[in-house]
Symmetry: C2
Subunit: 624 residues, 2 copies
């Protein structure tokens, strides 16, 4: 289907918006009148610009409160409409949106509304312009699309039709099945947006919190199934009022928008195939290769400067990892324990903006049963390929950059290609300290307000499933976390983000970490204690509370207290976990044991952990 | 009344919170259990710390879902309660909060709830601890304080009473008059918070958006009138869950909190005096000197570096200002036209973090009929005095720093003191170009999320009146503005703030400006054009739209187009205004004419202005 976006969904001047929309690959735009009024280009110049960019203008929105008014108001609006028809002729757009009247002075008279819209359509027809009438969710008397359709039907003018907007229909819980009752040639335009499930005033919800498809909770597939079932074949246009998008990088937002539309088309195609309700072939929809099973993480790469490398190696060694290989052409060392691999990378340039000794998670590698299909899916979902250099004979892994800056490699370790890039390193006797089995999860910190963009990326590109948000009280600001998991839970990512921007560390949520799994937390803790792994100290008050909260065996509790092991329980099982000391200002490791299918991440203990980490840093004289 | 605050209202570790609360002058704290659990200090050590700081612990909150449960759950909770009584004994606190059960598994049986609370009170009494029962707005069966009181009344235990929380009562629109039906000795505790008028789910509203008194829309005076009318004389404790406060500087938030409580007490005292419903003398309330009439702004000071000073002087001269004086001991020059005075200040140090040529509004001076009374009021409302140096014989003006960093001077120009600090400068013939009459308003940009703090400061310290928020679509992010005006409108401040943080200019909203009033906008524009004042170019599309929107005389419209004059209209009158070019990256001047009592600020035109300004800067090669 034709892919379009309203200029109000994006940040910047009209020229910037048009350029970004064209660059990422949209077909058309809706122009919001305010964008044109603020623009020094004349309408004819805008038309030339749009044409040069290979775009079309699909809709223009100059009006509020047109219909259901007193005769003198109507005459004024019609005079104004003539001026706007002239602007539209210059712009080269032949469809005008008219939203239902929201004014307290509107008149509750469908016949009057129909007659006045008929007059507008008649005036528009003289210019070859059509009018699309839309019921706003907070329209004074017309707030339901079936009501708008009744008015349009009775107005009965070939230049008058309906605009459907998913927000106005789904925010009010209206049944989209009524769309099937509207003739295809009367469906002039369809606007799409999603919205998070907020119980709030619909006008505020609409103006500030709309989001791109897949970032909210609406059943847009069900909505679109009725739209195409009714025979609509026009543009799908994103009209998204969102405070974040208004201030974000315009091209980044445009890519996020188009990715959401491609993923939506893919899901719609699957639904149509399953239901066979319409002739699927008649509708051009994106069909990227389906997601591939991801069995786990082949490695996590952390980037270190030379100072931090020593600290990282010491921490890994004390946790029972061995240095098993060195990259043939890059300053990258591989450390391994069980199936857990950590790459320490010193290749990346360090700007002056980063403190010495800092450490960040820079890449993850997912195990794909078919890396080339995974890569092709990523490309079709606008995942930017990261250009990489290879030594002779080295593996050509596809890597993409997630919105949070993490590089995501797609690889298949059992076909053994990328491991060959490492010269094996003789492994010293590990002294029986190997207690970890693999990587349980990786927590990646996100920039404020770019949580949904990142989640949609990981969900659509990698085919991960999103779980519910959990709020965590960091002592210095509320943080939200959301897990994404692959089928079978081989890959577990935790995204963390400050609930609002402007905090102490505005770039991202503060902490990042890798959690390693084990089958006996007490054995792991003991082995690491013997090797003098610095663990995070947990306050005694935590254990006093734990003993008041749960009937834990006193000797088990004593051992937990001695090792700084924390505890959680869900409906399935139990969770034991402990943390290493910090590695730099942001990074640390976690050791976890899941008992009886516990499926969480111990987030109830996260505030205790964070407070301990900040105290640890303050004692060490570190600022953050 | 005793002034208290819950640790959950503030950012940081428990130690940081206690220190800040003591430093700004609170009497006590409520300790949230999570703060204690995360703290390495034992309860006894916390008690010592609190005592050393001169504070008391007024309440402890360790429980959820205590009452209305099955017998085995009750026994577990009672065992847990015993552990918590021991913690409370160590902390030295004798009041425990128990909120009404919110669990879906709660049992709807008031007699059961009463019996179970009686058992808890009996157990608590053995430790000398009292239980305060509170109805949460989203309690499963008990969500109304009158319902909670019925249960407490029937439980009939001397160690069981009621906690009232303004949020839980006013968020549900409950009538606080029922408080008068509760005996004073059963009112164990009162928690206070305000909240903005949001139509949303009450749980989300409560957890994220509560604010300090005067920053929201609740009738807290009416609430407290009933509380003191019922005979309550205990602490007023701020319990404010707010995402912003959680991440803000703890001492700054604590000062904001205490200021709000002082202003609330002042207003409560006035209400009690007016209604004479209770014996006012029995209640200790803050009584700062009442606000003084402010007739206008004596001057606005802008800080410039040497490079910007030339540009500023040229712009002022072309706008018809004259250099009328130079400060006797500081590099400050005064420019004047009509009653409008602008001080150009080069004294302030410029760090490397500011671009060369930058200009900011650094101070405003309000004309007070009684500057010393204004200063005393400011001090009592915790407005920090700015230490200043004076040359011999120079005026000793009181200055305070607003939360946005603006210095606010309190002066009285007709007693002529501060003008004497300036050596008069011979004024050249102004060529009849003096067209401006005074300062109409000043727009001060605020840091994201610190809007309410600043507004409460200006309102309480200066006695200004707050107007409604207006949203403005800056091309690079949504901005909110709020006007504050003095009685008679002599002082008009406009606060502007990004709607959310994390945008391109995270520090504050981008633009600051001074608007000068005139009585003939066309004469002013002509005079300034003759003197080659660079004005901001407004797009032709704006005038095309204006002519479609209003019946403006064609020749007037042509003149407006020629001079870049914009237009607005409200229910009273009309508004004409135009803008100078930018002075640095953030600053500009506006010339305005109010016709027939127009009372707005032309914010409908602000997006057009902003887009023009960003384009202007881009053309000049400036980044922002």
């Amino acid at each position: 289907m034709r892919r379009s976006i309203a200029t109000v969904s994006l940040s910047g001047t009209l020229e910037e918006k048009l350029a970004a929309v064209a660059r990422v690959g949209f077909d058309g735009v809706e122009i919001f009148e305010n964008d044109l009024v603020s623009c020094p280009l004349s309408p004819a110049e805008v038309r030339r610009r749009v044409t040069d960019l290979g775009l079309g203008i699909d809709l223009y929105q100059p009006f509020r409160d047109f219909e259901s008014v007193l005769p003198d108001v109507l005459e004024r609006s019609l005079r104004r409409a003539e001026r706007k028809f002239a602007v539209m002729a210059d712009l080269g757009v032949d469809l005008m949106l008219v939203c239902s009247n929201v004014s307290p002075g509107a008149i509750d008279d469908d016949a009057l509304a129909a007659a006045q819209l008929h007059r507008l359509a008649e005036a528009a027809a003289a210019h070859g312009i059509r009018i699309a009438y839309e019921a706003l969710a907070w329209g004074r008397y017309v707030a339901d699309y079936t009501h708008a359709w009744k008015i349009v039907e009775s107005a009965d003018h070939p230049y008058l039709g309906i605009c459907l907007d998913s927000f106005h229909i789904l925010s009010r819980g209206l049944d989209p099945a009524g769309i099937l009752g509207i003739p295809a040639d009367k469906l002039f335009f369809v606007q799409i947006s999603d919205a998070p499930p907020l119980l709030m005033d619909v006008l505020q919800w609409s103006r500030h919190y709309r989001c791109f498809p897949g970032q909210g909770g609406f059943d847009l597939i069900g909505f679109l199934e009725h739209v195409v079932g009714a025979g609509y074949r026009g543009p799908l246009s994103l009209e998204v009022f969102n405070d974040v998008f208004r201030q974000s990088d315009v091209e980044r937002t445009a890519a996020d928008a188009l990715r959401s539309l491609i993923a939506l088309e893919e899901a719609l195609g699957q639904r149509l195939d399953a239901h066979r309700t319409v002739v699927r072939e008649r509708i051009a929809l994106a069909t990227p290769p389906p997601p591939v099973d991801l069995s786990g993480l082949a490695f996590v790469e952390i980037t270190v400067d030379p100072m931090a490398e020593l600290a990282a190696e010491q921490l890994l060694r004390r946790a029972g990892f061995a240095h098993v290989g060195s990259h043939r052409s890059k300053p990258v060392r591989m450390w391994q324990q069980g199936r857990a691999r950590v790459l320490l990378n010193r290749t990346r340039p360090w700007g002056d903006d980063r403190p010495r000794g800092d450490v960040v998670i820079s890449a993850i590698a997912v195990e794909s049963a078919d890396p080339s299909r995974s890569a092709e899916r990523a490309r079709q979902l606008l995942a930017p390929a990261v250009p990489r250099s290879y030594g002779p004979g080295e593996a050509d892994l596809f890597a993409t950059a997630a919105p949070d800056g993490t590089e995501v490699f797609l690889c298949r370790t059992d076909s053994a290609d990328w491991l060959g890039d490492f010269d094996p390193h003789p492994v010293a006797d590990l002294d029986g300290t190997e207690t970890l089995t693999g990587i349980d999860h990786v927590a990646l910190s996100q920039r404020p307000y770019h949580f949904d963009e990142a989640a949609l990326f990981y969900q659509s590109v990698l085919g991960l499933r999103q779980h519910d948000n959990v709020e965590v009280a960091d002592p210095y600001g509320l943080v939200r976390t959301r897990a994404l998991t692959s089928a079978g839970d081989g890959v577990r990512l935790m995204l963390t983000v400050p609930a609002i921007g402007g905090g102490r560390l505005p770039e991202t949520a503060h902490f990042q970490h890798i959690a390693f799994g084990c089958s006996d937390i007490f054995a792991a803790a003991l082995a690491m204690r013997i090797h003098e792994l610095p663990a995070l100290a947990i306050p005694g008050n935590y254990y006093d509370d734990l003993s008041a909260r749960y009937d834990l065996d006193a000797s088990v509790l004593d051992t937990m207290r001695a090792f700084g092991i924390l505890y959680d329980r869900d409906s399935k099982g139990e969770f034991f976990h402990f943390y290493t000391a910090m590695l730099g200002r942001r990074m640390f490791f976690e050791i976890v044991q899941r008992v009886d299918g516990y499926d969480g991440y111990g987030t109830t203990n996260t505030p205790v952990r964070m407070a301990a980490q900040y105290r640890h840093m303050a004692m060490a004289g570190l600022t953050w």
